[in-house]
């Protein structure tokens, strides 16, 4: 121990205050564990400070502007002026309110908060290096530790985030003014959300994607709906091309790409957003001191109790593997804290829902038809197109659908895919059904409010049973 060190002891040391870490800390404290939460940056992690919340705030702003400007059909003529720095302030207000809330909640639950970078010294000791000069070090002895260090954007060769025109999602969400022209590398969910948002705010967006469609991994009809809407917004797609480098020509940034066959192309923008995925953060921790190593994908492998190979060390959230989503991080954080408290918790969820805040939104949970088949089920699928939904039409929307997948024999709901306004909200009902092992009849037998989009979930369940009222049954 270094002279001048302060040493404290804690039952549960949580490293990282994102949705995985802060939730684990609060639950640990609720379970009576003396809990310490260390954060090197901002409380709330990527999600609150530079991910979910800021992106959704901007998407909302963009929607308001775009909807107002595109409402001639319903007799509204407007040409909204967008003040980007004001929108930035508003977003920051939202973020501050939430991150302040996280800090308050932690304190109110009795969690000790520490600012600094934690690294392991041995299986029961961590060193916390405080930021800033002369802040020094401190030692924390712990019974259990939860690693919740999250992820950071992946950098690709030729594109260094340190260079001004090369933007990460975080950089983009911090901008006070928008680029007129933007090249976006990657049509995954972050790339598509931000492209859509920028296009709505007036930026010319060119997307370069290595694979052959947007949102790789989603079903064809989902991809198709999103792509065609994006094209309507003026987004230009270039599939099958990988970005190889960029050059500042004075007139802007030229991004060069190459296909598999070696054909090259160039796209002009004022900046380039690189959104090709995120990688787990394990290099801040000195994991070697406890004999822990990331697996070949860079994640910390965990068992069904969120434990790593070191028995008293848990890993949750983005650092512990896919899906890298905030709610998955929180669910794991809760299990880790409860297991540390000696409770029989486990990661036995049937499914983790996922939402993409494009236009329209996409949300999925559980299995697709194909996944159910691969899993040995004999699936039955029901669907309700939103053009048959009174609520969708009265919102000026006619694209999208709700699809529900169930096991034919038992009627138990296995999953759902939803495309449409507020799909991210609607999926909660399907997620509950999947988690509860509810049957199609359970969903269809639940009276849904009219007129709502949620009725489409009920109708899809009826359709799967061949008895939908508002759509023709298969």
């Amino acid at each position: 121990m270094v002279m001048g060190d302060i040493a404290t002891a804690t039952d549960l040391l949580v490293i990282g205050a994102g949705p995985g870490g802060y939730v684990a800390a609060i639950r640990g404290a609720q379970k009576g564990l003396d809990t310490t939460l260390v954060e090197k940056g901002a409380f709330g992690g990527a999600c609150l400070n530079r991910g979910c919340i800021p992106s959704k705030a901007f998407i909302h702003g963009a929607d308001v502007a775009h909807d107002a400007a595109n409402a001639e059909d319903i007799g509204i003529h407007a040409d909204p002026a967008v003040d980007m720095s004001r929108m930035q302030e508003w977003k920051s207000g939202v973020v501050d309110q939430l991150t302040g809330g996280v800090e308050k909640l932690c304190k109110a639950n009795g969690v000790s908060l520490l600012e600094g970078t934690a690294s392991f010294e041995d299986e029961h000791t961590a060193r916390i290096a405080h930021g800033g000069e002369g802040q020094g070090m401190e030692t924390v002895e712990f019974e259990h530790a939860v690693v919740a260090t999250g992820s950071r954007p992946i950098q690709i060769p030729g594109f260094d985030f340190a260079d001004d025109p090369v933007l990460s999602s975080e950089d983009l969400l911090a901008m006070d003014s928008l680029p007129d022209r933007l090249v976006v590398v990657g049509a995954g969910y972050i790339g598509m959300e931000l492209s859509t948002m920028l296009a709505k705010l007036g930026t010319d967006v060119t997307v370069v994607e290595m694979l052959d469609d947007v949102l790789p991994g989603y079903e064809d009809d989902v991809q198709r709906t999103i792509r065609s809407r994006a094209e309507d917004l003026g987004i230009e797609f270039n599939f099958g091309e990988g970005a190889t480098g960029w050059e500042d020509t004075g007139d802007g940034v030229v991004v060069s790409t190459e296909t598999e066959d070696g054909e090259t192309a160039e796209y002009l923008g004022d900046a380039v957003l690189v959104a090709v995925g995120r990688q787990p953060v394990t290099d801040t921790l000195e994991l070697e001191s406890i004999g822990l190593e990331p697996n070949e994908n860079g994640f910390l492998a965990t068992d069904d109790r969120a434990r790593t190979d070191v028995e008293n060390v848990f890993a949750v959230g983005d650092v512990a593997g896919e899906p890298m989503l905030a709610h998955k991080a929180s669910a794991e954080g809760i299990v880790a804290a409860e297991v540390a408290a000696g409770e029989p918790a486990a990661l036995d969820q049937q499914a983790i829902p996922a939402a993409v805040f494009t236009d329209p939104e996409i949300a999925t949970v559980g299995m697709t038809r194909e996944e159910a088949e691969n899993d040995g089920f004999d699936p039955v699928v029901g669907e309700m197109p939103l053009r048959a939904s009174g609520r969708a039409l009265s919102m000026g929307e006619s694209e999208g659908f709700v699809r529900i997948v169930a096991d034919e024999e038992s009627g138990i709901v296995l999953g759902g895919q939803l495309v449409g306004p507020n799909a991210s909200e609607l999926v909660a009902e399907v997620a509950l059904a999947v988690e509860m092992s509810a049957t199609l009849e359970d969903v269809a037998g639940t009276v849904h409010t009219h007129p709502t989009l949620a009725e489409a979930v009920m109708e899809a369940a009826e359709n799967a049973q061949g008895q939908a009222i508002h759509t023709l049954n298969r």
Partner: protein
């Protein structure tokens, strides 16, 4: 070395679990293939579990005395030389590794997006657990396959250390409910309960004192069947009076607790008129069951529809000792509890009672279930009589001396068996069963006589097959062998099946008469009382003679009182002048 798990194998039809009586091996011990590693008691018998392979015992997953569900991982072996083979029970933290490779996707899509749709977190859920939990909880809680159950139910399962994958769900679509998990934890799976009803698996009965039945002190009651003494009884009864309407469905919904209640009351759920519907299927409430049980034995109608055929061969009968003294105290309250709730009550008063609590399971529960089933199914008629056994006593003495030389111990029982089988041939209805489904009475063409034996675990009824074809010496030998193995728990289930008539010997412990309960689905049971000197009128004078008193119960659906009396007279004749038996 590689680990391999071994699940508790199938223990027989309709058997969902067994009580681990003893481990015959220890962790770290090496075993050879087929070596017996454990003894497991089911409702029907003690079963020896052989090792499926050669290897070293890495882990024993249950403690002695615990209930092990069929198909639950039971033993883990370390097996040499199977490198690379799949290990079934080891966690691998799949989910964590499952992501796409950032480097690969780096130049293209967003990894998250690529992976999110429909990620099943349950794929992660394999695994071992460790630390705080001990015992089965260790291996059970997180199922590796997809199990349909709500989060709260899964959490309950973890708390109770129940492997959800081993629980049969009774909810809609086979979903596992809290009640299913609790029932499983209690060692009573709802399914097992209903299965028992369906197969009508055999067993016991007892005479009026059935509460005493139980675990009669083995030595006291243990009955020396050999000694002409006495004891218990048993006996099936078949079908049901068709008086109350029965529903007779193929499928009935009901909560596990309701199924258990039905089982306790010997009621087939499919026969109970349902007062509700769920999922478009009839749904039976506990009230329905009680009403049905109280309102007439109709219940059993449905039961016997499946039972008779199967039961006749399935019936591993158990029997209880009539003795008043036996372990009566302990189990009596439970029995009466069951009774009470069958009437009107809820049994709640019993739930609240203090006192030692003995688990109601295994042989004890089978006895109870079978008694209830028999009693609620077959209207019993009892018949009592007495005869002068002087010649019988003399004959036995003579024969016993001869048999002794040959190393065979001859008791009265073989003589009674002989007399009974002879009489049965003349009165075939006493050797019959009711096949209710087909509305036919089956007059058995075999004379398989069950002998009630008191054991430590309760009463069992081994069966002497084709008793009519066997001589006294062979009968004596077989009875001795079966009784001994029943007591050592070495008897096989099939040796307790297929009875057509049961004899019990209440004389050993004491008492004169009893009202034995028929060993379902047989038609009658014969209870020998003790032979002793009693006043007897000979030529208008009271003299002391050795006499035997006996009791019989018959299923009135099959046999009228007059026939019972005629049969009893014939048995008497043969035993009063036992030399006639030599002609049989």
């Amino acid at each position: 070395m590689v680990e391999r798990t071994f699940e508790l194998p199938d223990l027989g039809e309709g058997i969902a679990e067994g009580e681990l009586v003893s481990w015959l091996v220890a962790e770290g011990e090496s075993v050879v293939e087929d070596q017996v590693i454990a003894e497991v008691e089911t409702d029907k018998a003690l079963v020896e579990i052989p090792s499926p392979q050669e290897g070293t015992i890495a882990r024993l997953h249950y403690d002695e005395g615990e209930i092990v569900p069929v198909d639950a991982v039971f033993v883990t072996f370390d097996v040499a030389g199977e490198e690379g083979e799949e290990v079934t029970d080891v966690a691998d933290g799949e989910v964590a590794d499952e992501s796409s490779e950032p480097t690969e996707t780096a130049e293209t899509a967003d990894t998250v997006a690529a992976e999110t749709p429909g990620v099943e977190s349950d794929e992660a859920a394999t695994g071992e657990d460790d630390v705080e939990s001990a015992g089965p909880a260790d291996d059970a809680p997180v199922p590796s396959g997809r199990v349909f159950a709500a989060p709260s139910t899964r959490s309950l399962a973890r708390e109770l250390g129940v492997d959800l994958a081993a629980v049969d769900g009774s909810g809609p679509g086979g979903r596992v409910t809290d009640a299913d998990v609790r029932a499983h934890a209690d060692g009573t799976s709802a399914e097992a309960a209903s299965a028992a009803v369906v197969t009508g698996s055999a067993a016991a009965t007892a005479d009026g004192t059935e509460s005493a039945a139980t675990v009669a002190p083995a030595d006291a009651g243990a009955v020396d069947i050999q000694e002409g003494g006495a004891a218990s009884t048993s006996g099936p009864a078949a079908g049901a009076p068709a008086s109350t309407p029965t529903a007779d469905r193929d499928r009935t919904l009901g909560m596990p607790a309701t199924r258990r209640l039905a089982d306790e009351l010997g009621v087939d759920l499919d026969a109970v008129p349902a007062s509700e519907e769920r999922e478009g299927e009839p749904f039976v409430t506990p009230e329905d069951v009680r009403q049905f049980a109280a309102g007439g034995s109709a219940d059993t109608a449905a039961e016997s529809s499946t039972a008779p055929a199967e039961t006749t061969e399935a019936g591993a009968s158990t029997v209880s000792v009539g003795g008043e003294d036996g372990g009566a105290g302990e189990t009596a309250p439970e029995v009466s509890a069951g009774r009470k709730s069958s009437g009107a009550g809820t049994g709640a008063d019993v739930e609240a009672r203090s006192g030692e609590r003995v688990p109601y399971r295994g042989v004890r529960r089978t006895i109870g279930e079978q008694m209830a089933q028999s009693k609620y199914t077959a209207p019993h008629v009892s018949h009592h009589d007495e005869f002068d056994a002087t010649e019988l006593v003399e004959l036995r003495k003579e024969l016993a001396a001869v048999a002794d030389d040959e190393g065979v111990k001859l008791t009265y029982l073989p003589l009674v068996v002989k007399a009974v089988t002879a009489a049965l041939q003349e009165y075939p209805y006493l050797n019959s069963s009711l096949d209710e489904e087909n509305e036919e009475i089956v007059l058995h063409d075999e004379y398989n006589v069950g002998i009630a034996v008191s054991t430590d675990a309760g009463l069992m009824v081994p069966v002497i097959k084709n008793a009519d074809e066997k001589g006294l010496k062979q009968l004596a030998e077989e009875i001795q062998d079966l009784a001994e193995r029943a007591r050592n728990r070495k008897i096989k289930p099939e040796e307790m099946q297929g009875g057509t008539f049961t004899i019990t010997n209440i004389g050993v412990i004491g008492g004169e008469f009893s009202s034995p309960i028929i060993n379902h689905p047989e038609a009658a049971i014969f209870a020998m009382g003790p032979i002793k000197e009693r006043p007897w009128v000979v030529d208008s004078e009271v003299v002391a003679r050795e006499t035997m008193r006996f009791s019989m119960s018959v299923d009135h659906r099959l046999v009228d009182g007059a026939d019972a009396a005629r049969f009893s007279n014939r048995v008497k004749e043969l035993l009063v002048e036992p030399s006639r038996l030599l002609l049989e």
